[in-house]
Symmetry: C5
Subunit: 99 residues, 5 copies
């Protein structure tokens, strides 16, 4: 999985029918400090994530292993909202300590 | 999924038989401003997209989860035509406002 | 799928048994002008492509969706020989106009 | 598979339900000398690996071929803890010789 | 598939149980001249390849399509030992002509 931040949304009216109701999120990949690391990707939201939240996304066939993406032409899914991460014992991000 | 712009087409007469009738589109990957970001890829069209339109494409086994690509040797599919996207509350592209 | 040019072949006597009879092609990835863009890959040939031809290849599980690659440890297949491609209305390559 | 070092953990309370109980590890990719080579990824732990250990991770659908990840939206799994590796007859790392 | 050279081995005692008995090889990717091109990867050996040999490896779900890797958390497999390759009619490598 990849650590990313939700930065926006994509709207599509005309799409493969099985995707009706899917919500597309724009995600920016981040480094271990939570800073934008350059790449971005579009994912289907499986967990009601919002703009500004840190999330994990999964790709490939694993992106179809959620209730909202099963059997759909979706190769990227947000499957977790991140509360906290730490590197070598140091907390790099804690959702509850954000101001 | 990846945000891209349809820039052309590829024609192939001699191909795996299951692909008869498939339409191959040339897609250029774009950045969050909609500008060409360097890479391109060839996709099967599942949604009747046209040259000049912004689209989303899916890859891998997920590219076979459309009616037109099921069980075919296709690893990239255009599964949505993009109407609009926004980043941190700012609309970066709106199809209806293009001139 | 990726646009590439067949530039050579690979011979392997000792391989997973299910691959007996498979023909391995060396492919060089090309840009939209048909020029070598740096990368290369080895693919199983599903369409009797020859050295010098432009082709499309598919990767991942989609590379097993041809008669010749079904259930085999093959992650890249040439599934189409390219006749022509065009970008924004301009023909970049036409097989019949080559000399 | 990719050689990596466990450097941290990620905590997520709100995630796809099938992932309840999954432990997310932060992995840094390493070179043949065991040094950080730049990239990092988040994986589900299938083998009780700890921070500081060298591991192998597998991606894609293969990341779901463990008891802990079967049918889950997980595209990266730690499936082995590394004891030793050698390159051209030279031992580059041996877990028992670390101090 | 990717052309690579076997340069070493990785030993893991503690791993997902289904991988018991699997032999992990360290592979270095090579260019069309057979020279190290920078990247390396760890693969399960399906064909009894040895250090110093040129091989092909397959990735993703295709890496599970061998007798030794079926249903295992393995995303990279050595499925062929290379005897020879040629580029535009020139033999770049022939195993029998090595000294």
């Amino acid at each position: 999985m990849v650590l990313a931040k939700v930065v926006g949304t994509v709207v599509s009216t005309h799409k493969e029918q099985s995707l009706d109701g899917a919500k597309f999120l724009l995600l920016q990949q981040v480094d271990l400090e939570g800073k934008n690391s350059g790449g971005f990707i579009v994912a289907v939201d499986a967990v009601d994530a919002g703009v500004g939240e840190y999330v994990l996304y999964a790709t490939g066939s694993s992106a179809r292993q959620t209730k909202r993406t099963d059997k759909k032409p979706c190769d990227t899914v947000v499957m977790a909202i991140v509360d906290q991460w730490e590197v070598r014992g140091t907390t790099k991000y804690n959702k509850n300590e954000q101001t």
